[in-house]
């Protein structure tokens, strides 16, 4: 299963840089990230090439962080592709907690990362609908 690194951050100058610094020092490549702003704090979600290593490095520096399973869905990078997968979510009444994506190769491949409650069940549904779900290693071979 693909992994995402969640980091709890105070909402004040310099915190983002501190995380980035730890990742850089440990030679970790960030594929994409999002930040949920909740006022005094934010929750940062990272897709990196070495999530376990990132988690350990950040923990060692006393960041409150966690590894979370997500579904990384391979989609085509073209018009209508998002509509296709959104239709699948709608059809099966899938509740998305958070979602974000990134392009792997322009015009060809993109990855849609989704957070859901019941990962194995949703994985099965999405795969049955003909989509490829990427495992952790596959995600970083792209």
């Amino acid at each position: 299963m693909a992994k995402q690194v969640n980091v709890f951050l105070d909402n004040r100058p310099g915190r983002l840089k501190s995380v980035a610094e730890v990742l850089a020092q440990n030679n970790i490549n960030v594929r994409t990230m999002t930040l949920n702003d909740r006022g005094e704090y934010g929750l940062m979600k990272l897709i990196v090439d070495k999530p376990e290593k990132a988690y350990l490095a950040l923990s060692e520096k006393h960041f409150a962080c966690a590894l979370k399973d997500i579904l990384a869905i391979l989609v085509e990078d073209k018009p209508g592709s998002f509509f296709k997968i959104a239709t699948v979510f709608f059809k099966h009444n899938i509740n998305i907690l958070d979602a974000y994506g990134y392009v792997v190769e322009s015009g060809k491949e993109a990855v849609l990362c989704i957070e859901v409650k019941d990962i194995p069940k949703i994985k099965e549904i999405v795969e049955k609908e003909g989509f490829k779900i990427l495992e952790e290693d596959q995600l970083h071979e792209l």
Binding site: N36, E40, L43, S59, F63
Partner: protein
């Protein structure tokens, strides 16, 4: 100026007669105290086994002080001096660690309390023709009910508005021609600042007096509120252990609060040595109830610092006047008129394994009202990375705090190790409020 009295004989009694009265009532109080488990032991140790062992007011010094801890440890019935069937009301307040304290009242206790407030109200020049809007909280908190009964006894039309809901307060003031309000100083400032917003001008109001209590404030703030609302402001002092409001109150001369010495023996002591201080010297206020049957308290240490103003008052009342409260001997906070101890907040926070042991209590002003922010750190080992869980945690801490301290705080989550580390509890409190 013509001075009005509620009970002229007692209010202007000469000091010698007052002392005789105090001795008589002190003996009665000792009689009641000997029926409580706490005092029975304590008084016996001091060689007092009957009211007749008290020969003069000086004998009071043989009795040890009573503290808030004594009240907590005596909860719920250790200080009850009458048959429970004779009790008609209780008031409780939370202690420093969440263990409450309780004061019982008989019918006569409440009658006495009501009389004191009637005296206070009349002393400010208010009359039965005034309309009294009580903006203090009702319920277990003594601020609301105390003044309520006093105002009814005077014959005022009472609007039991309680605290909060500024729009409704202003509408009530306008619609019913409110002339006297009972309010905290910060809420008075808040209301003054909101009149324009709600489209009400001072000319549409009939306001002429305000009784301010429950929070310390300065002479400058009194003048500010008097100017903003074009009224007279009178200072009020009380503490829940001594019934609540009505212990000390200003008369029309607004130069210190007359303390009703036929109901309370007031001592000012050096908080360190416990020695009695002279009038004019600042120290801790110590009270002995003289007219309370159900819960007599002997030499109760209020933890409030103030001094007695020497000299006579032009109003001819002989009951000595108390200065403004100048401070506290403990770390109690007063937030929008409610007493809060940092330890109460700490106790709540420590129930949550998801947060660390470091926290900060931050208090500031927002639109003249106190704003309490409780900052806690996330505990790394129990961090799941789930946003919904974080928000739920915040809500749970907020709900528990509200239930414990009766104030609605803002709870903030912070990174582990991000809050300053302090040695003592008091240092965890950051009070950004400008002094009132």
């Amino acid at each position: 100026m013509e001075i009005a009295y509620w009970n002229k004989e007692i209010e202007t009694i000469d000091r010698d007669s007052l002392k005789h009265l105090q001795l008589k009532y002190l003996k009665e109080t000792i009689g009641y105290a000997l029926r409580t488990s706490l005092y029975k032991k304590r008084l016996q140790k001091a060689g007092i086994t009957s009211p007749d062992d008290i020969k003069s007011l000086d004998d009071l010094k043989r009795i040890p002080f009573t503290t808030k801890d004594d009240l907590r440890e005596s909860y719920p019935r250790g200080l009850l001096a009458v048959d429970i069937g004779d009790v008609i009301r209780i008031h409780t307040s939370s202690g420093t660690t969440g263990t409450p304290t309780v004061i019982y009242h008989t019918q006569q206790d409440l009658n006495n309390w009501t009389e004191l407030l009637a005296r206070c109200i009349i002393a400010t020049g208010a009359t039965r023709n005034d309309v009294f809007q009580n903006m203090m909280s009702y319920g277990l908190f003594t601020g609301g009910l105390g003044l309520h009964y006093g105002a009814e006894a005077v014959g005022m039309m009472v609007i039991p508005a309680g605290g909060g809901n500024t729009r409704r307060q202003i509408k009530l003031m306008k619609d019913f021609r409110t002339s006297v309000i009972h309010i905290t100083p910060s809420y008075a400032l808040h209301i003054a600042s909101k009149l324009e917003e709600f489209g009400v001008s001072l000319n549409e109001l009939a306001l002429r007096k305000a009784y301010l209590g429950a929070e310390p404030y300065s002479e400058n703030t009194r003048r500010k509120i008097e100017d903003l609302l074009r009224i007279d402001v009178y200072n009020s002092y009380g503490l829940s252990e001594m019934n609540g409001p009505g212990v000390s109150f200003e008369c029309v001369y607004k130069c210190g609060m007359h303390t009703w010495e036929d109901n309370y023996i007031l001592e000012v002591i050096d908080p360190k040595s416990g020695e009695n201080l002279d009038d004019g010297e600042e120290g801790e206020l110590v009270f002995t109830t003289l007219r309370r049957q159900a819960t007599p308290l002997l030499r109760y240490r209020s933890r409030d610092l103030a001094y007695i103003l020497p000299g006579d008052c032009e109003c001819k009342r002989t009951h000595r006047r108390l200065s403004r409260i100048t401070g506290r001997t403990d770390d109690m906070l007063i937030i929008n008129g409610v007493n809060v101890f940092p330890s109460q907040i700490e106790e709540v926070i420590m129930q949550f394994p998801e947060v660390g042991h470091n926290y900060q209590i931050y208090i500031d002003k927002q639109e003249n009202l106190d704003k309490l922010i409780v900052k806690v750190e996330i505990y790394s080992k129990l961090f799941t990375g789930d946003l919904a869980e974080l928000e739920a945690l915040k809500r749970r801490i907020k709900d528990e705090l509200r239930a414990s301290i009766v104030i609605n705080p803002t709870v903030e989550l912070h990174e582990p190790g991000s809050l300053p580390v302090f040695e003592g509890k008091a240092q965890r409190v950051v009070d950004k409020r400008p002094a009132l």
